[in-house]
Symmetry: C3
Subunit: 653 residues, 3 copies
């Protein structure tokens, strides 16, 4: 029983004399597991079919000898130079139709047969050689699937896309119906007319693009399954791959997560957003595993290298970040990477051992954190319970990326973040859920711009509310079905009855805002909504041409802003615009009250409190003080003092 | 005698059971004509050479049976998937050299011989089949020529470009002289060295680019003529194609409009500009037909789908918009499209029957408008008279798109719009005219940044002023000739004598403005102008380095801002900067007074008044109140009450 | 003994009758040298292998007859259309992998063998024909090497890149070590795997990109050497090429300048920056020639055509500009071009004879300047002495262009300009120096973001300070070695000892700034620095998360902002942020005082004063008044009156 602690270990970047020091320092920091081999293909197979495993044997043996477990990677995310030199057409083609080249990483087309053959071959070499190695604890299949090459527009991919479409639709009639090809004379009469999306004179077919995204996501999962099958021939150790739950929405993780033995994710702090994206990424990783503990496979001790402005973490910030993940269900806290590189594309990415060496804030915090995790070993395996869920769906997100929509100001991710942030401010721990998933365990479900809502998802939501649940629904939800076909008769067609509302037209705002009768402000969006039964709690005046021209123009119509509908045993809140934060906080509080959900404890704003509990009743309250003032967190039976900037893990029972 | 009313009808997007409802609703709305077949190629010829006309026969018969005329399209603007699959190189190549693909619309190269052959074949199939159909009223050749593929940089296009150039210049000496190839060592010594413009290391040859634009525009007209010739073998019904007079300045409509039997245009409201672009598009459509009534072939009932923010129309706004076109000479008011699509690239484009169905503001306004147009049938055929013209010229616009110019802040379209807007605010109805066109009917001609002014155009303007006309000329007019060769000796070389001015140098402004002596502000531009006889009505101080560095620097020189010159019997106003709106309004008023032009009636700002009159003297005053206050429009012998937001058509005589 | 005066002369753009007028006007203006033939290839060799030299003979004879020297160009910078038509693959490929085409200039790949063969052939034709011509004074080899095609990503270039790399590194082990290919599995196992950088899925290898820039720069120099060798077979006249010292940092001029007989440069005023870039370009041209007088081969009489907003020069500004160059060591003042073109890509570029003709401000100033230069002939050959240097290094600049760095807000050029501007405001004349160059003649050396500092460069700086020099060092200096490998142990690793400082981490700022204890403001950058011996003169509080989130967050740490260290006999100033101008002026003054450097004379801000002196003691003080007020410049023994906007050259001894 232990919390796993460590990071990516890339000894091939350093002289052998450093390796011994690495072992000593890992022990000093309390590191008990490292990921190895992720970028080692070129060193393990320097020429096609010629192998050099000696150095890697040495690394594995060193780890075993020092009591550090290996999370052993297949190195297939970064083929060596010989790969692109021999098979240039097996590198990806971008959305603009450009054949990309070697010189970076992920230089391959996921649909390439020759890539797959080479990847499975090196996978087999490694699986066979190390299956029984004493250091081996976990297989790290590939690395960050699709981080840069999620969608590769090659001819090979187009061929597989056609097969995938045939499976999905049976025949061309099905395809033509789903894609609405009757518009703009796009009806297909033979399968080989269907291509990967590539630049076109104007707006592409939304159905084609949506399915292309579905296929591309599916393809990556197939590659995982193929490698896993090879490994499984030699080893029964668990396997996973590191998702990127807080970013890279190109892969449908609801589909992919089914096949990993344990969910793992990577998270990197967004400089300007220290909390929301982190919390989402962690909650989402937990939710992908149905609440089971998960692995934080990578995060950073301080700055990263790929943001425009790569801010370093302030003192104690790393400790707080790591505990945020731990609190939200991570049983493994790992970093990219052990030693900050001196060269290469990521030399400005921090590591556990920074450029400055061990006489450094980073190293001291790394050691402190290692010690604290050791003390908290008992937390391992405990769970986080949430009675609130916020919906996240990939096809919905993808459909909204299409250029021709009511307004490009409405971005699915931004809406999600806005509502997640409101929950965070309210101290409400939330799961992330699928629209079609099991919602029976929740009291409150937030529906943030779930534009594309399948018939099944709509029925699921309807049943949830009817049975007593509370929903909080934003504009542009429930508008189109799974083929991106608009529900007719008034928006939001899929759930008009649930919401007690009917909207004739969307009125996206230009540069203006609308004034809420309650005193707040609505941004981005307005709509010509009418209550068909819901209580109207707030209104605004629908903008006329006036607001646009500055001229004195005909007055607009008063329109509901916030509607609350009783539906069956439950309650539905619907907003017709995007309110300012203060107004949103008020609405979230009202919905939470309707649902009977509350924070884990009473704490000042900026003090994050999350509970982990074992089934046997033992529980801990993770109190993370992001503020500069000492704080008190009040639980049912205690007051926990949390100093400014610090983390206190309070054992409750 | 009737005003045509209807829209694009795409029944192939809907199940057959909807068609009967369509007929019923068309009758309810007063629809008397629809455009059909525009995007039907894939359904009519699902595989190359295999045809399916049965369903379309049914549609045509339904229309005839219900008294709805067909504006029958050749479907050649959107080839089916088999076209690109079979002839991938016949799809367009963009300006960056990328071969585009199928998946959108207009997926063809206008210069492609194989495209033309396929287009003429389907045209012939349709012309032969429906020439005598009772529903047929008008041929709708192609659709929005060049909306996305006006310039296709294929090898096929380059070959035709060379033929066109040979026709234009006779020999390479002529070409070299016109393009100024002596600069940068670009002299051509053989025809096959001449290519379509494609990416180059730095600034391209302006002559090559300008002629490429001329050629590309010409090519589209040839395609029209080719289709028209095929149709003409079978039918003597009138033919047209829908221009886009308010946008897409890639096609020289002065040249193209000669060959259509009636001018038709499409117009879509720009969200942020509810009046100027609409008015221009309408006036221009009328002017292309020498004042004859024209067809508004497409506009929208509410939002479109392709702007960043697609704002919906406020209540009554659609009615006002449609009347704006009607007032400015349209005898047909049609929409894209009859029924808003549920799928595809334009599902967020409004229709006459919206997603919400007939219980909707849109449908009610559609029906109301249909009824009102019926009442106004007598207006059909009446004309709009304007004694003001504003110049618009395509080569001028194209030449100014070249990257290497005095300042990229000066944009030809923006200047045009600024001056058109000033006329609109002044209530002055204007025609749009060619610099080389007949100006004899006008009293006032506005010359907005007509940089490229041919010798013939300059002579035309000179004659107009000399004979008593008034011109209002902006900076950067009359500077270069038809080959984009600068007139020497001082700017604006083509019309220095007319303006009584000589400018040594242009001084584009950086981020600063100039203060007019009269109290206003000059933007974007200043120049070292001297009067050679003109009266100086306003001045500013030419910026020295001072204004740029913030340092105390040598004082600049006082320079004329507004000069007024008597030339022959006429008057020329010349501005050397771009004044603020209030100043411009003052200048326009002065020029209008000089010219003796006045609005159609006295009306408050924001109330648009345009007169249509029959030759027999019957006339109507269209009064469109864009404001939120009831207004009074005073004519010579009446006061017309126009309620806020409403349209009143006042019968004068 | 004379100051050279003239410009590019392109008579092929004008009819023969103009040529006689040109000669007359050149005499009137005092022109004594022109550059000819730069863009004449297409006229001299209109078809491959067919020559037409008759017209050019005439031009050369005319010049000789009129006492105007010829700076005779090889026309190889702009191949004729036949070149690209015959050898399309010999045109450059851009960084995106696009094959560019003819239609502009520099339409060739510098690594192309066929290009080189054609270029050397026309060079030989010209050299043989005109080697003994009486007009010939100087060879103008090519034109603005690499202005647009410095880096051409062709296969031909890749092949030469591999040869260059083999020379540099000996074997692949050396290459792999230098490029850090152990990261991301990029180890090369065969030479033919190495390619030119082309688009990759994500961040490219920094070592590859850096060496590609080194190679590309080297390639251009080889092309110069090849042409020079051909010319040298026929002529012993001096040779040069026109650098662009103020822009186009793609060519390592420290390397290139060794092979020209005299340094020549082109400079074009940046509209928004009338002084800094000009001064830098001039100082740099002088420094490239180790202080020897140099040729201003091109500048402009007024506006250029390629900036977004091409502002014209105010009256007298051209005179001041030309004198700025003259003051800083130019012995030749030349323009692009003699006569402003009427056509082509640069028709909006001003000339000595403007579009307006000779009745113009420009022409009058051209004549005035010619006369004044004649009077100052004695200045020819005199030198400018500077005891301050500011470092400029190409690999440093190139390395910082890599996308993955601490912050993209820190731009090497902007930092350089900021510090050069501070020196300019302080009236301190500075040389531009190489980090590895001889610094022994200086008292003060400014080190502006010299991130990449070789071991040799670091030793050079260390020796300079140790021996008594003063350095002023900005953040992000001395961080990585010549292979872009980070120095470990704390930043700035190469010169920690010199500065008495150790920084653990860089903390780039987001949108915020830091408040200096002294009252000023720090921008862009902060860092966790500690003094290891230096005196701390100013501090700020290192931002915590607080500043980023707006929330009340843990207080940051106080950190040194300005540290001053005694090292050996010298002094090192180090800044850890980028201060506002006023603070920077204070720091520069302190460093100057430490170093004992002072301006050439006492003058108000905005009055530029530079001294030129002969070895025999004769000296002149160039006083250039950029302000609108008359000024007094006080020297050791005189007071010089300098009227507003004027230039006074004061003979001192």
């Amino acid at each position: 029983m232990a919390i796993v602690y460590g990071g990516d270990y890339n000894p091939e970047q350093w002289p052998r004399e450093t390796w011994a020091e690495d072992m000593r320092l890992m022990r000093e920091a309390g590191v008990n597991r490292v990921s190895v081999g992720i970028f080692s293909w070129a060193k393990l197979e320097p020429e096609e079919g010629r192998y050099d495993f000696g150095w890697f044997d040495e690394v594995m043996d060193l780890l075993a000898a020092n009591g550090v477990e290996a999370c052993l990677a297949t190195p297939t995310a970064s083929p060596p130079p010989w790969f692109a030199a021999t098979y240039p057409e097996a590198v990806m083609v971008d959305a603009g139709g450009r054949q990309l080249t070697h010189g970076s990483r992920q230089g391959f087309d996921p649909s390439s047969d020759v890539y797959l053959a080479k990847a499975l071959n090196i996978t087999e070499q490694i699986a066979r050689r190390y299956a029984e190695h004493p250091a081996l604890a976990l297989w790290h299949v590939h690395n960050e699937y699709g981080c840069h090459n999620a969608r590769s527009h090659t001819k090979a991919a187009a061929a597989k896309f056609r097969v995938w479409l045939r499976d999905r639709y049976g025949d061309l009639d099905g395809l033509n119906a789903a894609w609405g090809t009757a518009f703009w004379s796009q009806s297909y009469s033979a399968w080989d007319q269907v291509q990967a999306p590539l630049p076109t004179p104007t707006i592409p077919n939304p159905g084609q693009v949506l399915d292309w995204k579905r296929f591309s996501s599916w393809q990556l999962k197939q590659n995982y399954l193929a490698e896993a099958a090879v490994i499984g021939k030699y080893s029964d150790k668990p396997m996973t791959t590191n998702f990127m739950t807080g970013s890279h929405p190109d892969i449908d993780l609801w589909e992919f997560s089914d096949v990993v033995d344990v969910v793992a994710t990577d998270h990197y702090l967004v400089g300007e957003d220290p909390h929301v994206n982190l919390g989402f990424a962690a909650d989402y990783a937990r939710s992908l595993g149905a609440g089971r503990p998960w692995i934080l496979m990578e995060h950073s001790t301080s700055a990263v290298n790929w943001q425009g402005r790569n801010r370093a973490k302030a003192p104690r910030e790393m400790i707080r970040n790591s505990f945020q993940h731990f609190a939200r269900g991570a049983d493994a806290i790992m970093y990219f990477q052990w030693r900050a590189s001196r060269q290469g594309a990521e030399k400005w990415h921090s590591g556990m051992v920074p450029h400055a060496g061990t006489d450094s804030k980073i190293w001291r915090e790394v050691c402190e954190l290692g010690a604290r995790l050791k003390e908290l070993a008992e937390v391992e395996g405990s769970r986080v319970h949430a009675d609130t869920a916020i919906l996240w769906d990939f096809p919905n997100r993808w459909a909204q990326e299409h250029e021709a929509r009511p307004t490009t100001d409405l971005e699915a991710q931004a809406v999600f973040d806005e509502y997640y942030a409101a929950l965070w401010r309210a101290g409400i721990t939330a799961d992330v859920a699928e629209p079609e998933g099991d919602l029976s365990g929740y009291r409150l479900v937030v529906v943030p711009a779930v534009y594309l809502l399948s018939r099944k998802g709509a029925a699921n939501l309807r049943q949830f509310v009817h049975g007593g649940g509370t929903v909080l629904v934003t504009p542009y939800s429930g508008v189109a079905d799974e083929t991106d076909t608009v529900y007719l008769g008034g928006y939001p067609g899929a759930i008009r009855d649930v919401l007690g509302v009917r909207t004739e037209e969307f009125h996206p705002l230009l540069d203006d805002t609308v004034a809420l009768a309650s005193g707040g402000t609505g941004r981005i969006w307005s709509e010509a909504a009418e209550s068909t039964g819901a209580e109207v709690r707030d209104t605004y005046v629908l903008p006329s041409t006036a607001a646009r021209t500055g001229a004195d123009a005909p007055a607009g119509t008063a329109t509901p802003a916030w509607l609350v509908n009783r539906f069956g045993e439950g309650t539905a809140h619907y907003l017709t615009t995007f309110p300012d934060d203060a107004t949103l906080d008020r609405i979230v509080a009202a919905a939470a009250e309707d649902a009977g959900v509350a924070p884990a404890a009473e704490a000042p704003v900026g003090v994050e409190v999350v509970r982990r509990a074992h089934e046997d009743g033992r529980s801990w309250l993770f109190c993370i003080n992001h503020t500069g003032a000492d704080a008190k967190v009040k639980t049912a039976d205690a007051v926990v003092d949390v100093p400014a900037g610090e983390v206190v893990v309070h054992r409750e029972h």
